[in-house]
Subunit: 341 residues, 2 copies
DNA sequence: AATAGCGTTGCAAATGTTTTCATCGCGGTT
DNA sequence: AACCGCGATGAAAACATTTGCAACGCTATT
């Protein structure tokens, strides 16, 4: 009842044993006889003892935390990944140390340092673009790390994710196959976002190969924010020289595009086809349902979590892991052949 | 370059000072003279030293972590709260220890214990319903805590949030004011979710007071999942005896309702009005835009973070804080007077 | 000239736990 | 009867850091 916080020696005193025995009950219960174990467990309950992971981790023991660094948890972009990563590692008694950097790679370095200060046992971060400082820090630390979300054949870090270039190609191909030639692009600033850059480059390459590279005025920039994307798309769709289809950097932008088109009285997909990338939760169930290229966020998160857990249980990090999870085209209600309005 | 991890004594050796001085440079730079400070800082960089928060926190010093316990980070329900909470505390050098329990209050107790094992400096959790064990644990720990999201006049824990009953009343009132009398409800199971329960009870009370308590077949249960909600709503709207309006437990369910109604060819809001609660990101920009009662998630998260930070800087916890943030009706495109189809 | 006071630094104790090593008692072997 | 091995437990060192206390070399005061 007192506000004094019991430590291991208090428990030991209460149970009439040594602190070592209490420690053993907690960590190697097999080493201590049943009667004393019961006595100790009773003492733990009676004193309200809660073990101190900080003191534990001072012995080179695990801190039982894993760091997860994402650009943002806003919107549902990374929500599924965070959740599935968490579920995967929580099973193994790990707790998540979560940090965000808002797409600022210098901030990413700082939060990463903080995670190392807390002696996380492993680290997952998003994507392959990072500061040189960040790479150096990771290399110096000897803590398992995995870059989730994106995949690249020559990634310097172990990576588990989708091939964003392919996602872009699939999106472009879909619209081209439907017969579109007047295709506009709405993507986020991609200088520090390898995922967006890979998608955009691939889309442009595919369109150029098909002989319909979009003019500059059809290459718009919008952040990952539905309302702002809506405003950008309104401008894009305002003129009379209008594209017949839009490829959006992700589903959040695509929702903004749908809103803008509807507000302008453009029928979807009759007068305008819209293509997202990501397949975020809800995208299948909006009206009209969004055509998109699915990035398997849940599988990526779960797989990344599992990978770290494996590394930490002496799993085989033979060579650096690079795992590509497939993207998948979902034809839904926002795409159709052009000009059937 | 070696994989040896420098500790404070290595830095001290490199700088030609004692470990105590290094510690002082890090924690009380004012106490050490400029020349030695520079020498030490150079040594820190040279050795790649990263301080060890675990060892630090053993001295009763802060762990610089705050625990945040949410039901889930899936969907965008709590995403804004997590993000704004994080932003608020990151400014003060705190890192987030995130745990989820999937609306299982026994699991909540377990993750809370884990957070205490890590010696978090403060804890935020969602809502006011918790196991008796959880309340006991919190009371015994002498760590500042705040219940975010929901507000209640007699909350045993400090709370910062919205009055969910009022949110329910506002939603019901809006539809009643529009002239609806045939109103159906789609809510999640509310036995362990005080927010949903408060909303549902208030809605039912308001409808009963207006003489149009919904029959049991119009009180549907759906989890917070658009697809599943869609299925539930399809059944609800299938019969010929159809409500003229729907109140949904939150916006995720409402999106499912919109999808179900559209799939059945019901015009919104002509043939069916739909009301959400929450105002999640994107709700304003779907088509049609969702009428909803906004819960100020960002403000709640930021305020909760700020409150903990204040408690930890000797702020004034004079009496237990109970702060109510206002809900707000957003009339948008999914509600209209009945029967104008 | 002796000393008081001050700023800077080092020493060593303390923090809570794990783990190695040693001890102890006990049943079974030779 | 002496001994060996074994299971269970305790004593103490180790982990990386912080901090109270003491000591040191100065300057300024009496």
């Amino acid at each position: 009842m007192t506000s004094y916080r019991a430590d291991i020696t208090a428990v030991a005193r209460a149970a009439g044993v040594s602190p070592a025995t209490v420690s053993r009950v907690l960590n190697h219960p097999g080493l201590v006889s049943a009667p004393t174990r019961n006595r100790v467990e009773a003492a733990i309950r009676a004193t309200g003892y809660i073990r101190n992971r900080a003191a534990q981790s001072m012995h080179g023991r695990r801190s039982a935390t894993l760091g997860l660094v994402v650009p943002t948890v806003d919107y549902s972009i990374f929500a599924e990944l965070v959740q599935s990563f968490n579920d995967a590692v929580a099973e193994h008694e790990f707790t998540l140390l979560l940090a965000t950097h808002g797409y600022d790679l210098a901030a990413e370095y700082r939060v990463l340092r903080k995670l190392y200060e807390h002696r996380v046992d492993g680290i997952a971060l998003i994507g392959l673009d990072h500061d040189a400082d960040t790479f150096r820090l990771i290399a110096s630390q000897d803590v398992p790390v995995v870059a989730a979300w994106a995949w690249a054949a020559e990634s310097p870090l172990p990576c588990i994710g989708a091939d964003n270039a392919e996602a872009g190609r699939v999106a472009a191909r879909h619209l081209l196959d439907l017969g579109h030639r007047r295709i506009a692009l709405v993507f986020p600033p991609s200088d520090k976002n390898d995922r967006a850059r890979a998608r955009l480059d691939a889309v442009q390459a595919a369109l150029a190969a098909a002989g319909c590279a979009p003019p500059a005025r059809w290459c718009a920039r919008a952040p990952y924010d539905t309302s702002q994307a809506k405003a950008v798309c309104r401008d894009l769709l305002a003129g009379r020289d209008r594209p017949s289809a839009l490829i959006c950097g992700n589903d959040v932008i695509a929702q903004g595009a749908i809103a803008a088109a509807t507000a302008q009285g453009l029928a979807i997909p009759g007068a305008l086809s819209i293509m997202g990338i990501g397949d975020f939760p809800g995208s299948a169930d909006t009206v009209p349902a969004l055509s998109t290229v699915a990035i398997p966020a849940r599988r990526i998160g779960a797989r990344a979590g599992r990978h770290l857990v494996e590394c930490l249980s002496g799993g085989p990090p033979a060579g650096i892991l690079r795992e590509r999870l497939p993207v998948e085209l979902h034809r839904r209600g926002t795409t159709a052949p052009p000009g059937i309005a």
